[in-house]
Symmetry: C2
Subunit: 381 residues, 2 copies
């Protein structure tokens, strides 16, 4: 096992009817900015529940945070925070709203120039507005971590940051808010959580059997509960299990003391930036290709994964595991090939070159450079 630090101060309030607790979770007297995305919030009743829970409090609103939240949009919210002296952010939505709100939280008090530098130049920031969240879409784990991914339209970039100041103080997870989600968002959420786990698990053995099993626990549960939630959208238990899997998939637990490989996410972000695919759509295309390309590096864990998740007992276990993984995504109703989106190899060289330009090597051994990314992209066609 590798040395590690494990820290996660977010209070998770989980279950049916918990939105009303907002009242007690946000200290009295705060000037609250409520951030959210589109109109679905009003249609499904969550908007009303949130407003009622905070009746009588000083509450401003900033809606319209888009999927793959954009710097350009978020800076408008930053201006509101500064102008109105907002001192608490309350995100209502899924990972995009939450990621965007984390950026707002850091950017509002940021005094040292353009807040985009925090992403593009890793400029440090050591204070943020406090934030809390009402999560309506299980997927990214953003409700209980310090990560966010922000896009910038003008430069076609999609970059991530990590900062302990943006752990939400609390997150309310009421699975009932998921009942009305469009099928595509549920598919995406299952896939996103699944790939998060894989990227912290499918590397090389590190004599960390508990972390392995904790990761496998999430994978097996997603394989069972994902299809159940899609089949029965109003099945509370299935929704609750999905929400809990997605949170546990990226809250810092299963990565403790083990190597990680975020190649799939890193390539996926570029596919979103170049072609506009949903985040999870990119992941299910890229992951099987990464596993195939990295079969030798990941040989031991691929066999373990084949046996423990897919019950593979004989044959070429690694190959079967990769095929089962792609089959699982397809069983959710997702496309797993770029060609299915009408995307060809025309821009692969430009896309792959970005990693070299940024001086980044991917993979648990940092051996995946632009050349390998191009090879992986070919496998995605």
């Amino acid at each position: 096992m590798q040395n590690f630090t494990c820290y996660n101060p977010t209070k998770l309030v989980f279950g049916r009817g918990t939105i009303v607790q907002l009242r007690d979770l946000i200290p009295a007297g705060k000037r609250i900015l409520m951030t959210y995305g589109g109109g679905s919030l009003k249609a499904n009743g969550v908007y009303g529940q949130v407003k009622r829970a905070l009746r009588g409090r000083r509450l401003l609103e900033f809606g319209g945070i888009e999927p793959n939240p954009r710097y350009e949009t978020l800076m408008k919210a930053v201006a509101v925070c500064r102008r109105e002296k907002v001192d608490f952010l309350r995100a209502v939505g899924g990972g995009s709203v939450l990621d965007g709100t984390k950026f707002i939280a850091l950017a509002a008090p940021y005094q040292r120039g353009d807040p985009w530098d925090m992403l593009a130049k890793h400029a440090s920031a050591d204070q943020a507005l406090p934030l809390g969240c009402v999560l309506t879409l299980p997927a990214t784990g953003s409700e209980s971590n310090m990560f966010a991914v922000i896009s910038r339209a003008s430069t076609r970039e999609k970059l991530a940051f990590a900062n302990p100041c943006v752990f939400p103080q609390f997150s309310i997870l009421d699975p009932v808010t998921n009942f009305s989600l469009p099928r595509r968002q549920v598919q995406n959420g299952i896939a996103d959580a699944f790939v998060h786990v894989i990227e912290q698990y499918l590397t090389y053995p590190a004599d960390a059997p508990l972390q392995d099993r904790q990761a496998e626990a999430i994978l097996k549960t997603l394989v069972e509960e994902g299809p159940r939630a899609l089949r029965r959208p109003r099945d509370y238990a299935a929704r609750a299990n999905l929400v809990w899997c997605a949170t546990q998939a990226l809250n810092g637990l299963i990565s403790c003391g083990v190597p990680q490989d975020w190649t799939t996410h890193m390539i996926g972000h570029e596919l979103t930036a170049f072609y506009g695919l949903d985040h999870a759509q990119t992941l299910v295309v890229v992951l099987p290709a990464v596993l195939a390309h990295q079969r030798k590096v990941k040989a031991k864990k691929l066999v373990q994964y084949a046996e423990r998740i897919w019950g593979v007992k004989t044959g070429d276990k690694a190959a079967l595991a990769i095929r089962k993984t792609e089959g699982f995504f397809r069983s959710l109703g997702m496309k797993t090939r770029l060609s299915e989106y009408g995307i060809g190899s025309e821009q692969f060289t430009e896309l792959a070159a970005r990693f070299e330009q940024r001086g980044i090597k991917l993979g648990e051994r940092q051996r995946i450079g632009s050349r390998q990314v191009r090879q992986i992209l070919q496998l995605c066609l």
Copy 2:
């Protein structure tokens, strides 16, 4: 799944050579009281490491906190805190030192009478001295939770409390500090962690498959790594895995949204109070008896446990699971019957009556009263 709140703000610093980080983890200028138990700390070098890490800081010491830490001892430390205006507690040791330090942390600023009321009368307390810990014995999970158990010699009582104010701010977990532990303490630690998991897992199904698998992940790892650590006391990875299992066993994670049954601990505390057995010694005696007595209530989960942990495929799965559990404890070198300690049934009536006196019913359905406790004790002989 039941509704729940999940909150754990303790920062865990894990790995070889991490004690030196104490310097950065305790804010400058604090008046620190270092609490510990006996002399083993000086023999194994941890005492020296801690002192070096805090060279130049205002550091008082309070040693001599005993196993099953006593109110009478701890109140002496409370007097030191008050007199010397201590404003940071730093525990070095295992669960007893840590539990004792949690009591000190709450008792020092407590103004409303005898701090024992917090245990005996559930008197509320909403402030505590901040505390951090260097853990030298994996077992209780106290390094990452808000629980403590304190004994009072004068009344032969052993009582627990829970208070979010006593989450350690940080805990340093360096598995190397475990190399020199006596065999008995390692056995006890494995058993304690194992039983913690069982008490949050072996109840009735709550449609919480992820929590079930997270619990099973710890159980399976303890079954593998426990014997390995006993066989090879200086095997770093085995020690590291034990430490991580013990922490995960009682940090509030696997209990999220599921029923719990702490009968074994509650009866075990009385056995310690009456007969002076080690905490874990009581648990491995009581657990098989509780499972046998509660076979019907726990029928479904017993079968799942038999299949998933012990690989039982046919026969009376529940009975086999109970036998395997007792066999596991014996394979660690522990006694599983009160008669092996020369204890008979003479005091069972008095012991069992305590639950009625306190108005407590045990079990996931609150159906275990004094009469059932007496029956369970008979099964422990």
